[in-house]
């Protein structure tokens, strides 16, 4: 069901949502999350699509905040989509004029009560997510350093503005790698003296993995540059020889270690919906992210000075 409301108010939107629910037989009953997406007209389509796919695992009320021309009169246009083959509801909120600077006043009345709030910036996000008005509404704030023009700088800024509940999709992208790396060290291995993470130049996930390994293992991990795609190799240098996972094509990885047969592992890159679904699975502060981010910022500062 699609409802278009032009030059509307939050009261009318709420009434329309309730009416839509009654007509469709209650699709909000299972909503477990409010997801605020802060996007512009170019990025909203993909972001909302990813959110409705992730919504199969985490049914949510999606509130997409799209800022339009900030000059001129304040005006609110809303587009409500509900029951379109996905659970939950999606509301696109287009804000014109000075209203776009006070988006939180529009979003707050539209949140489902008693239900957690997550804010996601699919594009360039604020340096201090919790300080932004739409971030302040949420207990979980998801940025994406990879979307920044210089991801390394974005990560450093996120580190200094960190508040519990912040997280970044660059960190989410690292999960499959981190999981494989942890499983690798579940096996017996020699003492690890350091290593290297090799990826494309601007790859914040690789930066975070290197920082994570450095922090957890207490030995330095270098960050080297390759042509990609994404992360291409991680090597542990150990007293019993190197342990290497290499993934030259972004899909198929091989695990190589001294005097053991080479093993093949599927390690595909995940799409936005899968990343978002993982991100929505837990809403408590991610301390490992905080520590890795701090480690990265400390390393970057040391290099800079």
């Amino acid at each position: 069901m699609l409802i278009d409301l032009t030059d509307t108010t939050t009261g009318d939107i709420r009434a329309a949502l309730t009416k839509a629910r009654d007509q469709l037989g209650g699709p909000t009953t299972g909503v477990v999350l409010n997801l605020i997406i802060v996007a512009d007209e170019t990025s909203q389509h993909d972001a909302v699509r990813a959110a409705s796919q992730a919504g199969r695992e985490h049914p949510c009320r999606v509130l997409a905040v799209i800022a339009r021309d900030p000059r001129g009169e304040s005006r609110l246009d809303a587009e409500i989509r509900t029951g379109e083959g996905a659970p939950g509801q999606t509301v696109l909120l287009r804000m014109y004029g000075p209203m776009s600077l006070h988006a939180d006043s529009v979003v707050a009345p539209l949140l489902v009560p008693d239900t957690p709030v997550v804010t996601w910036w699919p594009g360039t996000g604020p340096a201090a997510p919790s300080a932004s008005p739409l971030g302040a509404l949420a207990q979980r704030r998801v940025t994406d350093a990879a979307a920044a023009s210089v991801p390394g700088e974005a990560l450093a800024a996120l580190a200094s503005g960190y508040r519990p509940g912040d997280t970044d999709l660059a960190w989410t992208r690292a999960t499959t790698w981190r999981s494989l790396l942890a499983a690798t060290l579940d096996q017996q291995h020699g003492e690890i003296s350091g290593g290297v993470v090799i990826a494309e130049e601007h790859n914040p996930s690789a930066d975070l993995i290197a920082a994570w390994l450095t922090d957890r293992l207490g030995v330095p991990f270098r960050r080297d540059v390759s042509g990609g795609p994404g992360i291409t190799q991680v090597t542990f240098s150990s007293s019993e020889g190197d342990i290497t996972i290499s993934r030259p094509d972004g899909r198929n990885a091989t695990l190589t270690r001294a005097d053991q047969p080479e093993r093949y592992v599927a390690l595909h890159r995940r799409d936005a919906a899968e990343l978002l679904a993982e991100e929505l699975r837990r809403l408590d502060p991610d301390e490992i992210y905080r520590e890795s981010l701090a480690q990265f910022a400390a390393g970057a500062a040391a290099q800079g000075s």
Binding site: S179, L180, A182, A183, L185, Q188, V265, H268, I288
Partner: protein, 512 residues
Amino acid sequence: MTSNPLRDPRDRRIPQVAGPCVLVLFGVTGDLASKKLLPAIYDLANRGLLPPGFSLVGFARRDWVDEDFAKLTHDAVKAHARTPFREAVWRQLNEGVRFVPGEFGDDAAFDNLADTVAQLDAERGTGGNYAFYLSIPPKAFPTVVQQLKRSGLSSAPEPDALGHRPWRRVVIEKPFGHDLASARELNSMLDAVFPPHAVFRIDHYLGKETVQNLLALRFANTLFEPIWNRGYVDHVQITMAEDIGIGGRAGYYDGIGAARDVIQNHLLQLLALTAMEEPLSFSADSLRAEKEKALSAVKIPDDLAAGTARGQYSAGWQGGVAVGGFLEEDGIAPDSTTETYAAIRLGIDTRRWAGVPFYLRTGKRLTSRMTEIAVMFQRAPHLPFAATDTQELGQNALVIRVQPDEGITVRFGSKVPGSAMEVRDVNMDFAYGESFTESSPEAYERLLLDVLIGDPPLFPRQEEVELSWQILDPIEEFWATHDKPEQYPAGTTGPASSDALLANDGRAWRRL
């Protein structure tokens, strides 16, 4: 093994992954293998929960090579896997797929199997860790287990210099015997070859999300536990109803019947989880200790004729289809006394449950397919309304729906809108199935991973199996010496004697 610094309990994103190992699957040509086990293995691989090098060996009486088994696996995965098919994941899995042809009694075949897994250790670094999944008829267990012993596959080598010892595990499916004596026999046969902690008995119901959620519901909340006792609960109904008949399982089913097939394992496990006290922790030992306590407190009715009911489906209409009766099924003797419906009333002699009956029922060819635990509460001791106002008010109920449409329903009275005070029952629903279905893993995925990780809380132990048989054996003996099961038309809610069982207590079954 020293702890892994990359693992941290606070890091909830990294899943626990099984260590390197080989899963040896007996009975690969069976239905369970192609519909559940092989797809579950792929789904685990797809979720990144299987280690690099994980290998799968099929064993069957087929003149096959590795590629034939790989094809079977590929087809099973394509047809039944829960997660999307990815070529790269398949390639990872496929590299470790092997097949060993042979009869269960054939020494050479098992020597070949031993060579195959040893070769996998060398080629793929599986580290000598083997799990044997016996998806085969129970009568073949002794032969296979003896062969595993003879070929040396069942015994793990001595620990190496670092104290690291490979593991050996065996997985068996129900039935775990057909009475106490045969269950003990099966166990002593396994016991002679595998230590108790290496035997994993799969009851796939315990891998279901809702069943685990029952523990969360009871022990993570303050809302339910205070009323979870005889002070508030009137009775409990545990139901597993099936709409299908026995299908092609006549050979297995005749002489076993509904009670042995379902009540002994699934329903008594659900009863134990519903009735048990709070475990000290969710470790396997604490959980089993509480389940065993609950099962040992179970009391069967003094008058077995009035406290039990059984039936056989006769020809009738099920869901708009005319179906034949049980005695007309292929492979069933026309004078068979095997029951296809069983209901029993059990008591639990504890302070918490004294005087609260637990009604268990299961049957085939019933109105609909559903499994649920319904905790029925007492009526309010006093209603400050006129009797006519509350005529439509039933008992409050908390229903845990296990399948289909997993979820929880709370039933309570609410005012009907209008000027008169009229109270009627309404439902408050929590549905897993509403949207979580796509992500919630199949029971077999969860259970297989637990086997490979070596995490046993969801697997019943021999003591629980024996306790269940102790409950059921006297009932089976009584039935064996009494009349034939009562006939009930297919597509109905079971025999009249079952309804009488509750009616005698002034209660009624919930509608199927």
